[in-house]
Symmetry: C2
């Protein structure tokens, strides 16, 4: 058996109808209509127009520099404006420089910040009111058609996986792989972004609406996910020597342009994105024998590529 | 903020009713009944009786010895009898010794075996008929009460996460974190266990019923999940030097007893397990403000402990 062939098809998919609603794409074509031939995810992306992509905003992007390289985090001010502003203020004061990754728990989270909670926060806030959810009104919410265990509706808002409760008109970010959240104590208002975590395993959706999510890792996730797991309780590094030092955290806009990583994200409010979702719901390549016909919000990784358009980077 | 306090509550849960069905536990107590006070997952496990645990069967256990340590895989002959028998035959011929981990793709799978597919398989089979699903009849299936995106019913069979379709009377293992499956080419019957993978990220449930699952990692998962990601296509290690050598794979029963790892698993067909599930569905500790009220089958890690009963090991 050729090793390269195994799962060759698992990265790609099919496309039932490029310009219709996702929910409709799974249905039989109406009389007189002909569904276009299935396309793979790669084909959907290859045929995307420049307008299907948007540049990642350097004002809402963090670079966390580790000895192993750069982790890039896109922030979500539409969901957590106060925490995002506070984290950016902390970064601008170089608060995180010389702090460390203090925890790596298998199939759960990597966490970083000040293990002692003693470093001065300058003009930033040490605590902030929780931003677990917000009104759904005004959000460009692309709804997925499939049932979710935890929420009545899931989908995407400007690239971020989210959930929505139409009954109460509320929306919130959800804990998918790579999402970044704010550590806190028992008091809901005890966090501020001085301590952050990234999800490195199965989506811990029970944390939804219990923690303020502020963004997601869009490049360098492997630098976090491969860190040795901590042997202490809950994956904390028992010995200070095990901790991974953070060289710096900067707002991308503050970094000289020549040193920035220019990235683009696939927009999530387009027909192309709908087609991409459909290609994840039903994969018709020969390798797949039973198309799932469904997709979980955490199984639709939003595509990021270098601004030169050459290669998806995550 | 004390780092240790963050998510202290995330490992534990609550218990609404220890001796009732999981589905009923979420409902209001009937008139005249009083729900027992909520308990945490830890409390549920602490109060478990010896009969709530079962020893892991060495006849259906593999030890994969890596330079970094031992990975322990529990096999699932009730779902994939022919593949399990074949993998055990391969192990007994020392087929895997000196082969390698050849792939590590972030948020997806680690894969091992013979990258060239040339090593003789001796008395084992090079290919086998697929075992993607089986009749559900006769399986001790503990059903979870919550909706699942991909299947009409999910639950557990002798410790393994599974799904069931009552309409067609079929059952299958599902691709949760740590599950081990059989690589294959496009032909469904082209696998045999000479190439295996383990899930290291968000459950790739689109693979359900498209690949034969044969077991799950019950110890040493971190030895796989922290491997450097491959820089090649789909996470394959481009250079042979990047591959992680496999010292040996053995059936535990063939290893001298003094060298075995004695493990016990929480049984999944007991009232204690129901209580454990409920403690994962609703976590009432002070840290949690919004109990999920639901749980995904892949968010109920089955508990494994050393046979001395001292410590959960995953």
């Amino acid at each position: 058996m050729a090793a390269m062939a195994v799962f060759a098809a698992s990265l790609v998919g099919s496309l039932a109808a490029a310009s219709v609603r996702v929910a409709a794409a799974a249905e039989e074509p109406a009389e007189g209509e002909r569904a276009p031939p299935p396309r793979t995810s790669s084909e959907v992306l290859e045929s995307a127009s420049p307008a299907d992509w948007r540049p990642v905003d350097p004002q809402n992007t963090l670079y966390m520099e580790l000895p192993s390289g750069r982790v890039i985090i896109e922030l979500a001010p539409m969901f957590a404006p106060h925490h995002v502003a506070n984290i950016e203020a902390l970064a601008r004061e170089h608060y995180f420089d010389g702090l460390a990754i203090v925890r790596s728990q298998d199939n759960y989270v990597v966490q970083w910040g000040d293990p002692d909670g003693k470093r001065p926060v300058g003009n930033a806030h040490r605590t902030l009111a929780a931003e677990f959810e917000r009104p759904s009104r005004g959000l460009p919410f692309t709804v997925l058609p499939d049932p979710d265990t935890y929420a009545s509706e899931t989908g995407f808002v400007e690239g971020f996986p989210a959930a929505r409760d139409p009954k109460f008109g509320r929306a919130w970010l959800v804990h998918c792989y790579g999402m970044v959240g704010v550590g806190r104590d028992n008091d809901v208002d005890s966090g501020s972004g001085t301590e952050l975590y990234a999800v490195i395993g199965q989506a811990p959706r029970h944390l939804d609406r219990n923690a303020t999510l502020v963004g997601r890792v869009i490049q360098g996730m492997n630098l976090l996910s491969t860190l040795p797991r901590g042997s202490g309780e809950m994956g904390f590094y028992d010995k200070p020597s095990e901790r991974v030092p953070i060289k710096s955290v900067r707002v991308a806009a503050d970094v000289p342009e020549s040193q920035r990583t220019q990235l683009q994200e696939l927009r999530t409010d387009t027909a192309t994105f709908m087609a991409y979702v459909e290609s994840r719901r039903n994969r018709h390549e020969e390798w797949f024998k039973v198309p799932a016909g469904r997709v979980d919000v955490c199984n639709v990784p939003v595509v990021v590529r270098s601004a030169s358009g050459t290669k998806a980077s995550r």
